[in-house]
C-alpha cells in the first residue's frame, strides 16, 4: 500500500517558477507543490507549458527565474543526484534503436552505474510486468508503438525510482494498450511510487490522478481532485443536442436551471436536473441528442477552450 503520509515533504516544490525562450514565456510564474505518493497530473492543451515544466523538474531545462526543489534537492544544481531517483517515460520514444529489448534495459542500467547481474532478476520481472518477456531479443525496429511505450515504462523503472515522470504516456496507443498501461501505473502507485504525468486525455487524468492542475499559456489555472473539479466547475449532467441555439431555446424554454454552450453544431446543456430536459427532448422525433455525466473534459474546455465557446 501507499507508504507515504501527510507529513512527507512534497516531492516537487516550485516557487515562482518561470521559463522564457526569447520573447516567449513558456512557463509563467507557477507555484506548485506535488505531494509524495499518489498520482499527480499536469493537464493542458498543447503549448500550455506542461512539457517545459517537466523538463525543468528533470534538469533538462533550466528555469529563467524562481526556485525548484525535486525530492528535496535544489534544481538544476543537484540534477545528477535527483535523476538517480527518477524514472522518465518521454513523450516520443527514444529507445536505443541499435539494441534489442533486453540490451536496452542493460545499457540503460549502466547509465545509472547499476551492475546488470545484481538487477537481472528484477529486469526479468519488469519484462513480465509490461508483457514483453517473449520479446527479449527483438530489435526495437520490430516492436509496435504499444510495445515500445511499454518498454519505455520498463526502462524508466530499472533504477527503482521514487518518482516516475510520464509525458503523455498513452498518446497514440490503441485502447487495449492504454488499459494495460493504466492498470500497471495504478499498481505502481499502490506500491508507493509517486507518479507525475502530463496528458491531454481527460479520461486518463480522471482514471489515474488523485490531484491535478490545469495549465494554459504557461500558467496554472486550477488545482484539485478530478471529481472535486467537476462538481465545482460544471453541473452534474451534460446533454449534447445536435441543433441550433434558437431551436434549443424554444424547445427548453419551460425548463429552468440550464446553462447552454454552443460549439459548432452542438448545443451543450449543463444541468443538475437532466430528467426534465430528457422529457422535453423525447417528444421531438428525429432529434439527435446524448445524455452523459459531466467529466473533466467539460471542466477543461470551460477553463481552457474559451475561443471555441459561445456561451449565452
Amino acid at each position: 500500500m501507499n507508504s507515504s503520509s501527510v507529513s512527507d515533504p512534497p516531492i516537487v516544490l516550485a516557487k515562482n517558477l518561470s521559463k522564457r525562450f526569447g520573447d516567449f514565456l513558456a512557463v509563467d510564474d507557477i507555484n506548485l507543490s506535488v505531494p509524495t505518493g499518489g498520482c499527480f497530473g499536469l493537464l493542458g492543451p498543447n503549448g500550455a507549458g506542461k512539457t517545459t515544466t517537466l523538463r525543468m523538474f528533470l534538469g533538462q531545462s533550466h528555469q529563467s527565474s524562481g526556485s525548484l526543489h525535486v525530492l528535496g534537492q535544489v534544481m538544476p544544481e543537484q540534477t545528477r543526484s535527483v535523476r538517480r531517483k527518477i524514472g522518465v517515460v518521454p513523450q516520443l520514444d527514444n529507445l536505443d534503436v541499435d539494441f534489442t529489448v533486453i540490451e536496452n534495459l542493460k545499457v540503460y542500467a549502466s547509465f545509472f552505474a547499476l551492475n546488470f547481474r545484481d538487477i537481472e532478476s528484477y529486469i526479468d520481472e519488469l519484462l513480465v510486468m509490461v508483457e514483453l518477456e517473449d520479446k527479449r531479443n527483438t530489435r526495437i525496429s520490430e516492436l509496435s508503438g504499444g510495445m515500445k511505450r511499454r518498454l519505455s515504462i520498463a526502462r524508466a523503472l530499472v533504477n527503482k525510482p521514487k518518482l516516475l515522470v510520464l509525458d503523455e504516456p498513452t498518446t497514440g496507443l490503441d485502447p487495449q494498450v492504454r488499459h494495460l498501461i493504466w492498470s500497471r501505473l495504478r499498481e505502481l502507485k499502490n506500491s508507493g511510487t509517486t507518479l507525475l504525468l502530463t496528458t491531454h486525455y481527460m479520461e486518463e487524468a480522471e482514471r489515474l490522478c488523485d490531484d491535478l492542475v490545469i495549465m494554459d499559456k504557461g500558467k496554472i489555472l486550477k488545482r484539485g481532485h478530478p471529481k472535486q473539479l467537476i462538481s465545482e466547475y460544471v453541473e452534474s449532467d451534460v446533454i449534447e443536442i445536435h441543433c441550433s441555439m434558437e431551436m434549443a431555446n424554444s424547445l427548453l424554454k419551460q425548463v429552468s436551471d440550464i446553462r447552454y454552450e454552443l460549439v459548432d453544431e452542438t448545443v451543450y446543456c449543463f444541468t443538475n436536473e437532466p430528467l426534465k430536459i430528457i422529457k422535453e427532448l423525447e417528444t421531438q422525433a428525429g432529434l439527435t441528442w446524448l445524455h452523459r455525466p459531466a467529466n473533466l473534459e467539460d471542466v477543461f474546455l470551460s477553463l481552457t477552450g474559451r475561443e471555441l465557446h459561445e456561451a449565452q
Binding site: 525562450f21 528533470l58 534538469g59 533538462q60 531545462s61 533550466h62 540534477t79 545528477r80 543526484s81 535523476r83 538517480r84 527518477i86 524514472g87 522518465v88 518521454p90 516520443l92 527514444n94 529507445l95 536505443d96 534503436v97 541499435d98 539494441f99 540490451e103 545499457v107 540503460y108 549502466s110 547509465f111 545509472f112 552505474a113 524508466a156 533504477n159
Partner: protein
Amino acid sequence: MDWCLPKVRMSMFAVWSRNFRVWRKLILPSTLFNFGEPFIYLLGLGLGLGSFIGEMDGVPYLTFLPSGLLASSVMNTATYEGLFSVYTRMVPQQTYEGMLATPLEVDDIVAGEMLWCATKGLMSSSAILVVGFLIGALQDWQAIFCLPFFFLIGLCFAGPAIVVSSLAPSYDYFNYYVTLLLTPMFIFCGVFYPVRTLPDFIEPFIQVLPLSHAIALVRPLASGQPLHNVLLHVCVLAAFAGIGFYLAVVLVRRRLIN
C-alpha cells in the same frame, strides 16, 4: 549559454561502452573495412606509385605513404564518428535525450563520445600498422610507440567534429567542414609528400593545422627516423583536444539543455 567548465567523471565510460556494444555487433564488416581499405591503398598506391617515385624524403615511398596514412586515418575515422554518428545519436535517434533522463550529463556524453571517436581512430590506424608490417612497408618496431599518439590524435579531431555536429541543422552541413578543412588537411599536410615541397608562403598556414603535428609525430616513429619537437606537437594536439572538448560541451549543452 552555460560556460561552466566541464567535469570529467567515470560515467563517461558508460557512454563509451554503449558505443562499444553497438560496434561489437558489427565487428565483421568493421574489421573488413579497417584491414581491407589500407591493404588496397598500401598495395595499390604504395607499390604502384612507389615504383615510379622510389624514395621520398630519404624513405622508400612504400614506407613514406603508410606512415602518413596512419595519421590521416585517425583523423578521418575520429572525424566521421564525431560528425555522422554523434549527430545521429543527438538528433534523429534522440539517444542523448534518453541519457539525459539518467544521472549522465552532457559533460559525460561528450567525454564518452570523444573517447569513443579516439578509440575508433586507434583501431583503424592499428589495422594499417598491422597491414604495413605484413606487406613489409613498415619494418621498424619502434612504430608501436605510435599507438598512444593515435589516441591523442583521435581526441584532437573528435572535439572539433562534435562542435560541428552540435551546430549543424542537418547532415548536409558537414560538407562545409569536410570540404573546407578536412580534405585540405588530407591533401596539404604531408600525407602524400613532404610539406616543404609546397610554396614557402603556404607553409605557416600548414603548420597551424593539427594533422601536420600528427604526421610530425607518427611518420618518424613509423619509418624509423628520429623524433623532433615531441613536446610541441603533443601540446598542439592536446590543445585542440582540450579546447574542442570544452567548446563541444558548451555547444551540446546549448542544443540539448534549453
